[in-house]
Every structure is written in structure tokens, then in C-alpha cells.
């Protein structure tokens, strides 16, 4: 389905709803013609409809709702009294409006000028009455109104407004009103969320049922049908929430054009994979971030036309917005063929802004430097421009992505361009997680952040400063006993002397350890848990007041056995550890 078609469908659904509402309101108003609420509502609806119709280029609908709006403006101001005659005209007008809306799909010709003029005449007459203007002038006005309507031209010369109204009525009585029902249903997202929640609970119940029955000797395959129906239902509900990514992408033509014209750059936007579908909520959360990133690409990435020519590149820069999916993961890429990111410049800026210490700057890798642009308060632009703002961009992007369990990556080549890759879940409802046990209680780590699971012995671990290190794939990585982390009063106190050595010290020499290697944004860390359990799809729920501000956990889920399982906020944990690392290096410096 084309984008244009999609917009029309949305407009249609909305217009049809407005039309139905107007019918209701008119009926209500007929019963009590002083109902303030109904009058205001009609005024509002006709106004919105007019605006939408104009935006979509349906001038007939716009004109029709415009005149209805005008009538109700007068009614609203208490100047025009609604009588039976006016009501019949209004009902008629609304019927015509309904036909016009229907005519968008059927391409049927609808005569609407008659009733429109009739209402206009009512308006004119009414205005004449209050302004007590000369009859002649009034007549002239009527003439001008009527001249654009061929149907009534011959009546024009010798009749007054009143007679005209009658004449028109006869003309239109032939058409009968019809009831139309839209083919699309508008559902508030709230209701879909509630539905998805219930489905989530069903899945949990199903799992618990299967778990119970397999314990007493039934085969899991006996529940295959239940399993399939439940999962069909789940995906069905999730599917309803999906929107095409092109819906959002299309808005970027304008965003890009505006930035390009301010920056005096020539940039083309290329959209790819617009048909990829993504959860509406994910898109809503990411939309601002994408605007930031596209602006950044033009503002920081693409060079001025002269410079591009100088470098032997085409004058027009290119920004590609690409959507692609792999199983349940959606990738959104923002790629430009601009100057690329110069790590030397980033490093210098970070030093100037004291984001990193001199000591750290000496050992920092290029990948780590690139990550610095996500630090709060970092703005790479040499000067702050109107467009790229004041470094609020990239850290907001990162936080928005993380909040839904995604990640951001940067690939850049100097002189060739930069590519940002956002890895997003296609749905926020279900995610894969690794379950483990600690202190006889289950916890989960989202699979997005798990790199590997390894088994280590105490001798593989070494004390390093206040923490512990081990080696993984030839790299030295930090390691923490989750037990020690949990024992701390809060995440900020990980710097406490010996706090992270406690479990290590208590460990017998031959002990074997289950370690989950987690990673986020090129930062790795090992987490020692008591026992690894399984990999599982979970329905993550948010934590509510008063536990929503806990730093360690980003959510919780209910397991098949009914137990609550907390989901570890890996990003927050990693961030805290690396903050500590940076701080230590700062102190050392």
C-alpha cells in the first residue's frame, strides 16, 4: 500500500468518524437546541474536518465543513437561533458531507453546492438582519455567492434569499440519506496496550500450566495446540500495533530540507526499507532521536557543496535512512556520505570539556573515543549552530534507545561518511532474556546485552584495584559478583574499599563460577551469578512507584511459576562501573 493511500485511509476513517459524530450531535441538538456542549463540539469537529480536508486536498469537503463551521460560529456566539428549518438544512448538509467523504473512494460525483449555498444564504440573511444593511447590498452578496453555482443561476435574478431556500429544498429532496460504516476501526493505543498486557498474562499462565503438567508426567507436546494458539494470539495483537516505518521516514524529507537550507548544503534524502513494520510505541519513542540524528548528519556530516567538489565528491550530499529487520530485531540506519567523524577532534573536545582525563586520553581506543559523543554535554560541532543545538542530541538518542532495550553503534570512515545503526526491538512487549538464580531468587538479563556465558574457576579471576578482572577472548574484562553489587546500599557506592572483593575472598579455591558476559557499546563486563537457568521470552513490565527509581533494575516479569523475576538494567550497571573507572583515572591524573 502506498503512503498516499495510507494517509487517505487514515483521513477517511477520521472523517467518517467526524461525520457520525456530527449526526449524533445534530440529533442531540435538535432535542435541545441550546446545548452548549453540542454546539461547541460541532464547531470543533467541523473546524478540524475542514483543516484535515484542506491538508489532503479534498476541497469539496473542506468547503462544506467550512460553511457548517461558519453557521456554528454564529450559533456559538448566540447570534443565530437554530430553528426547525435550519436543522433540516444542517442534516441535509451533513448527509452531503457523508456522501462527499464516501465519494473519495467511490469517485462518485456529489452535488454539494446547492446545500452549501443554501447555508451561505442563511448566513448572509442573518448577517444582514443584524447589521441592518441595505437590502441592495445584501442582494449583491447573494448574487456573488450564487454565481458560482450553476444549479441555481436562473433563480438568481428575481428571487430573494428566502424563496431561494425553498426552491433549493425541492431540488435536493430526491436524494436519500444512507448509513455508512467505515472499514477501519480506530482504537486508542491504550486499549491495545491493555490487550497486549492480558495476552502477556495468558502466555505466563500457559507456561505455568505446561510446567505443572510436565512435572506430573505429561508431555509438553500435548500442549502444542494451546501453545500455538497463544502465540498466534500474541503475534496477532502485536501485529495490530505495528506501523510501517515509512510513515515516520516520510516526514524526514521536510526535516532534511529545512536543515539543508539553513546550512546552505545540498542534500538528497534516500529512504530504504520503508515497508518494514515496527511497533508504534517503539517508533514514537525513537522519532525525536531520529530527527536529531538526521539533522546531525546534515549539519556535521555532509560538507558544503564547494568542499565536496574539491574532494571530488558529487555536489549533492546523500543521507540514507534505512530500515531492515532480522527476526525480531529492527535496524534503523542513518548513513551519510559526508566527512566522517575525526576521532582526534573528538578527543580534543572531550579533553577540553573535561569529559575524559589526560591519563585516560593516552590509553583510550578509537572505538571508545567515538562513544564519547554520546556523553551528556558533548557537542562535536566546532561551533554551536542553529540546527545541531547544544550537544543535547546524541546522549538523548542513546538514552531513548536504551530505554527500550536497544543500542546505538557508529561506523565511520574519515572522508567517506558515517553510519549510525540503531538496533531496536520490533516490539516492546516481548523480549528474549537469560534467566539466572541468585540467593534462591530468579533474575533476568535481556539477551540484547548478553555476549556469552562462560564457566570460570577462582584461579581465572584476579584482583585489580578495588575490582576483579578476568580474561575473555584474550581481552581483560572487569568482573563482578552480583551478590556483592546487591549488597551495596546503592550503585554509587561501588567505590567502597573491598566491597567487590568480598565474595571472591570467601570463595573456596576449587569453586566453579557461572559467569554471564554482558556488553553494551563496546564495553564488556562479567557478572558472576549463582546458577544459570534458561533462556526465555519474557513480557517485561515496568516497575511502579515506589520501586521505579531503583538503579539496578529496569523492569520485572512474572515467570511460569508465578514468581516475580527482576530484570537487571545492564546499561545502568555498566555505566556505573565505567563512570567509576573514568573517575579513578581522573583522580590518578
Amino acid at each position: 500500500m502506498g503512503k498516499e493511500q495510507e494517509y487517505i485511509e487514515i483521513f477517511l476513517a477520521e472523517a467518517q468518524e467526524s461525520h457520525e459524530k456530527l449526526n449524533l450531535l445534530f440529533t442531540e441538538l435538535e432535542r435541545d437546541n441550546t446545548s452548549r456542549k453540542a454546539i461547541d463540539a460541532i464547531f470543533r469537529i467541523t473546524h478540524t474536518l475542514k483543516g484535515n480536508a484542506m491538508g489532503m486536498g479534498f476541497s469539496e469537503i473542506a468547503e462544506m465543513s467550512h460553511v457548517m463551521e461558519d453557521v456554528f460560529n454564529e450559533v456559538k456566539n448566540g447570534k443565530l437561533v437554530l430553528d426547525a428549518e435550519l436543522f433540516s438544512s444542517l442534516f441535509r448538509a451533513n448527509d452531503i458531507l457523508g456522501e462527499l467523504i464516501e465519494a473519495i473512494t467511490s469517485a462518485k460525483q456529489v452535488k454539494y453546492k446547492g446545500i452549501k449555498t443554501k447555508l451561505e444564504v442563511v448566513l448572509r440573511n442573518h448577517r444582514q438582519n443584524i447589521t441592518s444593511e441595505a437590502a441592495q447590498e445584501g442582494l449583491e452578496t447573494i448574487e456573488t455567492v450564487k454565481s458560482d453555482d450553476p444549479v441555481i443561476v436562473q433563480e438568481n435574478h428575481n428571487s430573494t434569499g428566502g424563496e431561494l431556500v425553498l426552491a433549493l429544498e425541492d431540488l435536493e429532496e430526491t436524494q436519500l440519506s444512507k448509513v455508512t460504516i467505515s472499514d477501519t476501526v480506530q482504537v486508542p493505543v491504550r486499549k491495545l496496550d491493555a490487550l497486549l498486557n492480558i495476552v502477556g498474562e495468558l502466555i505466563i499462565e500457559k507456561d505455568s500450566l505446561i510446567a505443572k503438567y510436565t512435572e506430573i508426567g505429561h508431555k509438553a507436546s500435548e500442549f502444542a495446540r494451546l501453545h500455538r494458539i497463544a502465540s498466534d494470539l500474541q503475534y496477532g495483537v502485536m501485529d495490530v500495533r505495528l506501523v510501517q516505518i515509512g510513515f515516520l521516514f516520510n516526514k524526514f524529507h521536510r526535516v532534511l530540507r529545512d536543515v539543508a537550507s539553513i546550512e546552505n548544503k545540498k542534500v538528497d534524502l534516500i529512504l530504504e526499507g520503508t515497508e518494514i513494520e515496527i511497533d508504534r510505541n517503539v517508533l514514537r519513542i525513537m522519532s525525536d532521536s531520529l530527527v536529531h540524528m538526521v539533522r546531525n548528519s546534515v549539519s556535521h556530516g555532509i560538507e558544503k557543496p564547494a568542499k565536496r567538489l574539491e574532494k571530488g565528491k558529487p555536489e549533492h550530499g546523500k543521507v540514507v535512512l534505512r530500515g531492515r529487520n532480522e527476526k525480531d530485531t529492527i535496524y534503523i540506519e542513518i548513513e551519510d556520505d559526508g566527512a566522517g567523524i575525526d576521532t582526534a577532534v573528538i578527543k580534543r573536545k572531550a579533553l577540553e570539556k573535561k569529559i575524559i582525563s589526560e591519563e585516560y586520553a593516552k590509553v583510550i581506543t578509537n572505538d571508545e573515543i567515538l562513544l564519547l559523543i554520546f556523553e551528556p554535554g558533548f557537542s562535536n560541532a566546532e561551533e554551536v549552530t542553529e540546527v545541531s543545538g547544544r550537544g543535547v542530541g546524541m546522549d538523548v538518542v542513546k538514552r531513548a534507545t536504551e530505554s527500550i532495550g536497544g543500542k546505538v553503534e557508529i561506523f565511520t570512515t574519515i572522508g567517506k561518511g558515517t553510519r549510525f545503526v540503531l538496533t531496536l526491538p520490533s516490539s516492546m512487549a516481548v523480549k528474549g532474556a537469560l534467566l539466572f538464580e541468585l540467593d534462591k531468587q530468579e533474575f533476568a538479563i535481556p539477551l540484547t546485552y548478553t555476549e556469552a556465558v562462560v564457566s570460570l574457576r577462582k584461579k581465572d579471576l584476579h584482583k585489580y584495584g578495588k575490582g576483579l578482572v578476568t580474561s575473555y577472548l584474550g581481552k581483560s574484562i572487569s568482573l563482578v559478583f552480583l551478590k556483592d553489587l546487591f549488597a551495596l546500599p546503592n550503585l554509587a557506592s561501588i567505590g567502597l574499599e573491598g566491597a567487590l572483593h568480598k565474595s571472591y575472598d570467601d570463595l573456596p579455591a576449587e569453586a566453579k563460577l557461572d559467569v554471564v558476559i554482558v556488553s553494551y557499546a563496546e564495553r564488556f563486563m562479567g557478572i558472576v551469578v549463582d546458577k544459570l537457568l534458561q533462556q526465555k521470552e519474557i513480557v517485561e513490565k515496568n516497575l511502579n512507584n515506589p520501586v521505579d527509581k531503583n538503579d539496578l533494575f529496569c523492569g520485572a516479569t512474572i515467570l511460569g511459576n508465578g514468581n516475580v523475576c527482576l530484570v537487571l538494567d545492564i546499561v545502568a550497571v555498566l555505566r556505573t562501573f565505567y563512570m567509576e573507572k573514568m573517575r579513578r583515572q581522573n583522580v590518578a591524573a
Binding site: N197, E201, I204, D439, Q441, E442, L485, F486, A487, L488, P489, N490, L491, A492, K541, L543, N544, N545, P546, V547, K549, N550, D551, L552, F553, A556, I558, G562, N563, V564, C565, L566
Partner: protein, 184 residues
């Protein structure tokens, strides 16, 4: 003189009777009464969604001690509070806190939903709003967290402390925000 005195006394009695009647016709509210330590506490019944057997509580590290963790109550995950710890009530005869709190009061408002641990099945009591002694001095002198007490209800021999859950939750909110600000 005697006469006058007599009428005065009758008048006083009448007045008192009228007063009692006024009390009876005043706005009545229903309270849910539960025990914390050896004292009786109460919450308005409209704030209580249900009373359930305490489910398994998932402990949550790095939270205030009186937040026992989170539990699954009819599919929603809610925080479980131990008000005995919040109010600093000593656990005299009880040595094991979790094992004795058999019931959970599910308290709900627009902004929060929490569970409050109680030991016995709570009972109800209908009182007149005017029976609530709001501005009492003794609150300030008590060791309780005064901000969370709405008032004291005297019902015969009983003295029931009315808890203000909304303020309790707000206070908690502020505390954690401040704590967070300090960390950063």
C-alpha cells in the same frame, strides 16, 4: 436560683443529646483496621483494593529496608511495604518478619499501588469523620514518622492510628529523588 440551675443542667443534657445525634448523622467512613506491633492502625476502606494471602516476595536489593520487594498480585507487579519497619516499631515477640506477615493489604490510588504487610486478617470499623482527632499534639512527640499519620480515632477503649498512605508515598518519592540527586 435552684430552678435556674436545674434548667441549665437539663439544657446541657439536651444539648449533649443533640450533639450525639449530630455526630450520628455526620459523615461516616469505613476503616480497615490492622495491627502493627501491638497498636491498631487504619486506612479508609476506599483505598484498599483487596486483602490477599502474602505471595512470594522477590527481594529487591538497593531499596529502603521497609520495602520488602515486589510480588505478583493478580498479574500486576507491586511493591510490598513493611510499615512496622517504616514506622520503626520494634518486633517484640516476633523474631522472623516474613513468616508472620500472612496477609497483604493492596492499597491503590491514582498514582500508586502497593501492598502493605499485616499479620492478621484486618477487620472493619465504621466511624464518624468527626471522631478523627487530627491536630493532636502527641503525634509530634511520638517516635512514629509523623508525616504519614493522618490522625487518631478513639473508639471506646481503642485508639486507632489513621495512616495517610498518599503522604507516605509522596514522602518516599521525595526521599528517593533527593537520594538520587545526591548520587549524581
Amino acid at each position: 436560683m435552684e430552678n435556674i440551675g436545674e434548667t441549665t443542667i437539663t439544657e446541657v443534657i439536651k444539648e449533649a443529646a443533640a450533639d450525639v445525634q449530630k455526630k450520628d448523622t455526620g459523615k461516616r467512613i469505613q476503616l480497615i483496621i490492622f495491627k502493627l506491633g501491638s497498636e491498631e492502625y487504619a486506612l479508609p476502606i476506599d483505598q484498599i483494593k483487596e486483602v490477599v494471602l502474602t505471595p512470594r516476595i522477590a527481594k529487591m536489593p538497593q531499596t529502603p529496608v521497609y520495602i520488602k520487594g515486589v510480588a505478583n498480585i493478580r498479574g500486576s507487579i507491586i511493591a510490598i511495604l513493611d510499615l512496622e519497619q517504616k514506622f520503626g516499631i520494634e518486633k517484640q515477640e516476633k523474631n522472623n518478619s516474613g513468616a508472620t506477615s500472612h496477609y497483604t493489604l493492596v492499597v491503590e490510588s491514582d498514582t500508586y499501588k502497593v501492598g502493605v504487610l499485616v499479620k492478621e486478617v484486618p477487620n472493619t470499623l465504621t466511624i464518624n469523620v468527626i471522631e478523627i482527632d487530627r491536630a493532636s499534639n502527641f503525634i509530634q512527640y511520638s517516635s512514629l514518622d509523623e508525616s504519614c499519620i493522618q490522625g487518631v480515632v478513639k473508639s471506646g477503649e481503642r485508639l486507632i492510628i489513621l495512616v495517610d498512605m498518599i503522604r507516605l508515598m509522596e514522602a518516599e518519592n521525595i526521599n528517593s529523588t533527593v537520594a538520587k540527586a545526591l548520587i549524581n
